[in-house]
Symmetry: C2
Subunit: 217 residues, 2 copies
Amino acid sequence: MQQLFSTMDAHKFPSILLENAVNEFSKLPGIGRKTALRLVLHSLKRTQEDVENFGNAIINLRKKVSYCHICHNICEAEVCDICSDARRDALTVCVVENIKEVMAIENTGQFKGLYHVLGGIISPMDGIGPGDLQIESLVKRVQNDGLKEVILALSATMEGDTTNFYIYRKLSGFDVKVSVIARGVSVGDEIEYADEITLGRSILSRTEFSDSYTVER
Amino acid sequence: MQQLFSTMDAHKFPSILLENAVNEFSKLPGIGRKTALRLVLHSLKRTQEDVENFGNAIINLRKKVSYCHICHNICEAEVCDICSDARRDALTVCVVENIKEVMAIENTGQFKGLYHVLGGIISPMDGIGPGDLQIESLVKRVQNDGLKEVILALSATMEGDTTNFYIYRKLSGFDVKVSVIARGVSVGDEIEYADEITLGRSILSRTEFSDSYTVER
């Protein structure tokens, strides 16, 4: 039967250009070879201009983007729009893991202070220690800018807690209030389905009810 | 409460370059804005060279790729590697919807003939008629090359059946055998779970059992 098999077995792609494009797409996280092929074949149906816009947008982003010297958020200048906005409260700094969290908090419209992007959280399993994060520069900001409050807004995980505790210890010698965002039952959640730890935490961290009780800062 | 809201509401992205890249990624099928942002932030962590390779691979593919003049498969010359392979049976042509199907059939190693890529199937719902597909050029191949057999390997859907029938009618005046790939229970499937139509079809299209019964062409 073997001789009936085609000699093209190893020839999976009809074109090296196609194979290259599929290889490049499948290097992206969460994109397997089947999805990569689908995306590449879709690109072939788009106009030359559309495909060039796509490729150049990614290349230009990587080439031209920089990070804010103060908060390490992404920006196109030395200092980002948030840090250079005089209307914002420069003495309150919210510590976040990444750029995505800055965007998420900005979208709530509930925070008028500045940010500090750590670039990750302490995670010994992934080989990320305090030295890999922007913690020293946070300490310097507290020291030099006379910050009033540092709000820790990291993930509610073991790694987040570890990082919270590490930063708390690092800042313990300074005259700055260190707070952590509230953990409790999500707005819209039914108590019945909340997990025990979250529910327990929400009881311990209960707040006084008043006439003005509503979602506000 | 309104005055407590930040003035940054509309400012979702900290950088226009970032926003552009996210917009471009979310134009791809099946990629929403959250996934696009994740892919873009991942690209920021890659080296400049890696990102350039990625962008250029897609741009180059779109710019340099061409289609085989005979079978309309993707290639980098006038005629693709399959059509120009003298060891293949040039008188048997397998009609497929797209490049993906050529690759899938090539991977089985069970077919030694040539292909004809239609570029889609007849689908009035999507506004695709026979004129949008490479059917006329298939008729010309049958007419000019004296093909022995045309194998229809289209999707087992209403649209596939319609296209099969259309091609069958178009080729009825020529001295060519028109066959369709077998539909039946998948290898490895349990009869109990096969759907009724497939099971019924597999009984009607039963083949004679012999000593050499195995997966071969």
